[in-house]
C-alpha cells in the first residue's frame, strides 16, 4: 500500500484542449480520497494519469516512493473500477474475479483462497457460478469490485463506479465501499460528480473546476468553510445560499434587509455572503426578518426545503417536517445568530480570511486543521441542535 503524490500535473490533449491545468496533490497511504467536480473539470483525466491510461504533458506522479511517469498501466500495480462493469460475458463470476490472478500466474490454491475471501467480503459467495447475464446491475458491480480487490493492489482507482445503479443500490454500495476500504486500508482515489457521494465516502475531497483544484479538505470542512464561491455553490443539498451583502457596522445586510452577523474579516465592498439553508429560519409575515414569499417547497419527509423569494433573491431554507408553509405564503426569513456567514470577495470568489488554496491542497489528513476553525460556533458543532 502506498500514498500517491502528484506534482505540477498538466495534461493537454493533441487537439489543444487543456484538461488539467495544474495540480498538486498529496494522497496519504490508506486514504479514501474523492475527486469531485462537474463534467469536464479534469477529474477523470487526473485519475487516468494516475492509472497510466493517459500520459501527462508535464508534472510527476508517484505511487509510494516510485516515480511512475513513463510506466504503462499494467506496470503500476493499481486496480481500476469503471462506471461500466466490463465483465467477461462468457465467464462465470468466479472466473471473472480470478482472471487478474491467473494472468499473473498465481498458484491455483492461492487463487481459490483469494477469490473466496473477496467474494465473502462482498457477500456474493452464492453468485460465483453465475454468468454476468444472470446477475443484476448491482451484483455485476460487486463482481467487478471483487475482481479489483482480489489483486491486493497498491491502490484502487474508481471512476464513477456507481453511476449506472439505481438510487437505492447506490446508497447500499456506497456503504459497502466505504466499509471495505476502511477494512482493507488500501489507498483509494474515487472520482464522482455527485457531491453527496463525495461527502459520504471521502476521508478528504478534492473539488476540481476548469482543470484546477478549488479546495481540498475533509467533508465537514468543505461543507462549512467552502474556500471559493464555486465550492460553496457545488457542495451541499441544497448548495449554499450566495448573495451580495453590504457592511453596516457590526452587521452585514443582504436582500430585503436580511441581517447577518459580520465576521471580522468582512470589510469593504463587493462582498458575497455564503449561508447554509440550516442557518436560516422562516417566520410569519410579521416576523423579525426580511420579507419574502415562498416560491417552492421540497418536502423530503424528514425535512422540508423551502425556496423563498426575498427581493428577487431565492433563498433555500431547511425546516423540520412540522413546518407548514405553502407556496405563495408571505413570510419573513431570518438568520440564526449562532451561525456566522462565510463571506467571499465577489471579484476573486475567494473566502475572506482563509488560507490560500495551495497550502490547503498539500495538507495531508494527519496534519491538524489550522486554528481559526474552532473559534466559531458554526464550525465547532453548535448546529447539532438543528439536525
Amino acid at each position: 500500500m502506498s500514498g500517491i503524490h502528484i506534482e505540477g500535473l498538466r495534461k493537454q490533449f493533441p487537439d489543444g484542449t487543456v484538461a488539467v491545468e495544474h495540480l498538486d496533490l498529496e494522497i496519504a497511504d490508506g486514504e479514501l480520497f474523492v475527486l469531485l467536480g462537474p463534467s469536464g473539470c479534469g477529474k477523470t483525466t487526473t485519475l487516468r494519469c494516475i492509472a497510466g491510461l493517459e500520459h501527462q504533458t508535464s508534472g510527476d506522479v508517484r505511487i509510494g516512493d516510485q516515480l511512475v511517469n513513463g510506466r504503462r498501466a499494467g506496470e503500476r500495480d493499481i486496480a481500476m473500477v469503471f462506471q461500466f462493469y466490463a465483465l467477461y460475458p462468457h465467464l462465470t463470476a468466479r472466473d471473472n474475479i480470478a482472471f487478474p490472478l491467473r494472468a499473473q500466474k498465481v498458484a491455483t490454491s492461492e487463487v481459490e483462497r483469494r477469490v473466496a475471501a473477496s467474494a465473502e467480503m462482498l457477500k456474493i459467495t452464492d453468485l460465483l457460478d453465475r454468468k454476468p447475464s444472470r446477475l443484476s446491475g448491482g451484483e455485476q458491480q460487486r463482481i467487478a469490485l471483487a475482481r479489483a480487490l482480489v489483486r491486493a493492489p497498491q491502490a484502487f482507482l474508481m471512476d464513477e463506479p456507481l453511476t449506472n445503479l439505481d438510487a437505492e443500490l447506490r446508497i447500499d454500495m456506497r456503504t459497502e465501499i466505504k466499509h471495505l476500504q476502511a477494512e482493507l486500508g488500501t489507498t483509494m482515489v474515487y472520482v464522482t460528480h455527485d457531491q453527496v457521494e463525495a461527502m459520504s465516502l471521502g476521508d478528504r475531497i478534492g473539488i476540481m473546476n476548469g482543470g484546477r483544484l478549488e479546495q481540498v479538505g475533509a467533508p465537514l470542512d468543505v461543507y462549512r468553510n467552502p474556500a471559493t464561491l464555486f465550492t460553496a455553490g457545488f457542495i451541499g443539498t441544497p448548495p449554499m445560499n450566495l448573495f451580495d451583502v453590504a457592511v453596516d457596522g457590526p452587521a452585514l445586510v443582504g436582500p430585503g434587509g436580511l441581517r447577518l452577523p459580520r465576521p471580522a474579516d468582512a470589510t469593504g465592498t463587493g462582498l458575497v455572503a455564503g449561508v447554509r439553508a440550516e442557518w436560516l429560519g422562516i417566520a410569519g409575515p410579521d416576523g423579525d426578518g426580511a420579507s419574502g414569499q415562498v416560491v417552492a417547497t421540497e418536502s423530503l419527509g424528514d425535512e422540508t426545503i423551502y425556496v423563498v423569494d426575498v427581493a428577487d433573491q431565492r433563498l433555500s431554507v431547511r425546516e423540520p417536517p412540522t413546518a407548514q408553509w405553502r407556496d405563495g405564503d408571505a413570510v419573513t426569513v431570518h438568520h440564526f445568530a449562532r451561525f456566522e456567514p462565510r463571506v467571499y470577495d465577489g471579484d476573486t470568489g475567494r473566502l475572506l480570511g482563509a488560507d490560500p488554496a495551495p497550502a490547503q491542497a498539500m495538507r495531508a489528513p494527519g496534519d491538524a486543521a489550522p486554528g481559526p476553525t474552532t473559534t466559531d460556533p458554526a464550525r465547532s458543532g453548535a448546529d447539532a441542535g438543528t439536525a
Binding site: A167, K178, M199, P219, A296, R318, P321, A387
Partner: protein, 367 residues
C-alpha cells in the same frame, strides 16, 4: 385541462402482466406522480393513458368521458420523454414552434406563443441556437417548451430529468413545480426517483409489479406507509426493518432489544418487523430498554447530518445523527428508538399493522 381516470386497467405483454387491475383518479390541475422501481408498470400506464397502448381490460377516461380507442393525437396530450428528441437541424425556436406549424397557426401568433413559453422556461436567449449548441438541461427545457406551446389538456412526462446531472436535476424540480403552478395544468409524471416524487407531487401513486401499492400526498406515504414495499421505497434513506416477535405487549428482537407496541397498532402474537426511519433513531449513552446495541460499520458525514450505519446482530441499521457525530468504525454504540414514530409490519404479508386507518390514506392493494 382535465381530470384523468383509470378504471380497472390491465395490460399484459406475453406472459408479463405489466399493469394489473389499476384504478386511479387524477384531479384536474394536479401534479400527480407515478412512482415505482424499473419494471413496475409506470411507463406502460402512461402509454395507456396517452393511447400509445390499448388496455386488455378496463378503461381510461378524461373528464369522465371514456377515451375508448381514441388515437393518441385525438387525446390532446403532450408527452415529454427522457430523451429530448429535438430536430437537430432546427433552432430551439423552430423546435418549440413545430407543433404550431403542424397546426398551421399564423406565423406572428406562433412567434408570440414561442416567446411566451421561452420566457416562462427562461430560454429566451437560446432560441436561435441549434440543439448541439445547448447543454442537456437546456435541451430538456426546449423539449418542455415544445410540449407547453400546444396548451394541451394534460402533460404526460416520462422520467424527463433522468439524463441530467444531479445538480441540474434538483434545479429542474423547482422549475417544474413553478411551471405547474403557473400553468395550472394537469401533470402526470412518471419517475423511479422517490425524491422527485416527494418534492414535486400533490399526489403520489406508488406502483410495484403493475399493482397500485398506495396513493396519497407525499406526507401520507412517508408517515403512514401502507406496506413494507412503500415504507422502504419512500425516503432518501431507507427505513430500517428489524425482525421481531410480540410477547407480553413488547416487540422483542433477537439481540434482546424491546420496544413497546405502538398504541395505534393492533397486533396479536406472532412475527413482525419493526420499521424505524433513520431520523427516528439517535445515538445515546442512556441505557433504557428501547435501545438497540451494536457496532459502528460505516460513517458518512454529509454536512447537515451524519449517517451512521450500525451492525445490530445480523442487521445493518442506519441512523441520522448530528452533523458532528463521528464515532469510530467498530466502536460499540447505543441507539435510542423514538417509540412514537415506529412502524410495525406483518412479517408474512408485509402489510402495515395499524389500529385505525387515517381517512386520508387509500390503501388499494397490497403486495
Amino acid at each position: 385541462m382535465s381530470a384523468i381516470d383509470l378504471d380497472g386497467v390491465s395490460k399484459a405483454f406475453g406472459d408479463t402482466q405489466a399493469v394489473d387491475d389499476l384504478s386511479l383518479h387524477v384531479d384536474d390541475g394536479a401534479f400527480f406522480v407515478l412512482l415505482g422501481p424499473s419494471g413496475a408498470g409506470k411507463t406502460t400506464t402512461l402509454r395507456l393513458i396517452a393511447g400509445l397502448e390499448t388496455p386488455d381490460d378496463g378503461s381510461v377516461s378524461f373528464d369522465g368521458r371514456p377515451a375508448d380507442g381514441a388515437a393518441p393525437s385525438a387525446r390532446d396530450l403532450a408527452m415529454v420523454f427522457q430523451s429530448y428528441a429535438l430536430y437537430p437541424k432546427q433552432t430551439a425556436g423552430e423546435n418549440i414552434a413545430s407543433p404550431l406549424r403542424a397546426r398551421r397557426i399564423d406565423a406572428d401568433a406562433a412567434d408570440q406563443q414561442v416567446h411566451e413559453v421561452a420566457s416562462l422556461l427562461r430560454i429566451d436567449h437560446l432560441l436561435d441556437r441549434h440543439p448541439q449548441q445547448l447543454s442537456g438541461g437546456e435541451q430538456q427545457r426546449v423539449a418542455l417548451g415544445r410540449a407547453l406551446v400546444r396548451e394541451p389538456r394534460a402533460f404526460l412526462m416520462d422520467e424527463p430529468l433522468t439524463n441530467l446531472d444531479v445538480k441540474l436535476r434538483v434545479e429542474m424540480r423547482t422549475e417544474l413545480t413553478r411551471l405547474h403552478r403557473t400553468l395550472g395544468a394537469t401533470f402526470l409524471y412518471v419517475t423511479n426517483d422517490q425524491a422527485e416524487a416527494m418534492s414535486m407531487a400533490d399526489q403520489v401513486a406508488v406502483i410495484d409489479h403493475g399493482r397500485l401499492q398506495q396513493v396519497g400526498t407525499p406526507a401520507d406515504i412517508y408517515d403512514r406507509p401502507a406496506n413494507r414495499f412503500v415504507a422502504t421505497f419512500i425516503g432518501a434513506q431507507r427505513m430500517n426493518l428489524l425482525d421481531c416477535e410480540l410477547r407480553d405487549g413488547q416487540l422483542r428482537g433477537e439481540t434482546g432489544w424491546q420496544v413497546p407496541v405502538p398504541s395505534t397498532a393492533s397486533v396479536t402474537g406472532g412475527r413482525y418487523q419493526l420499521g424505524v426511519r433513520p431520523e427516528d433513531l439517535a445515538l445515546t449513552t442512556d441505557s433504557t430498554d428501547a435501545t438497540l446495541v451494536g457496532a459502528v460499520y460505516a460513517v458518512e458525514p454529509l454536512g447537515d447530518r451524519c449517517l451512521v450505519d450500525v451492525e445490530v446482530g445480523q442487521d445493518l441499521v442506519r441512523v441520522k445523527a448530528a452533523p458532528d457525530a463521528d464515532p469510530a468504525v467498530g466502536e460499540p454504540v447505543r441507539l435510542a428508538v423514538d417509540v412514537d414514530r415506529v412502524h410495525v409490519f406483518d412479517s408474512e404479508s408485509g402489510l402495515a399493522v395499524r389500529g385505525e386507518e387515517p381517512a386520508a390514506v387509500r390503501v388499494e392493494a397490497s403486495n
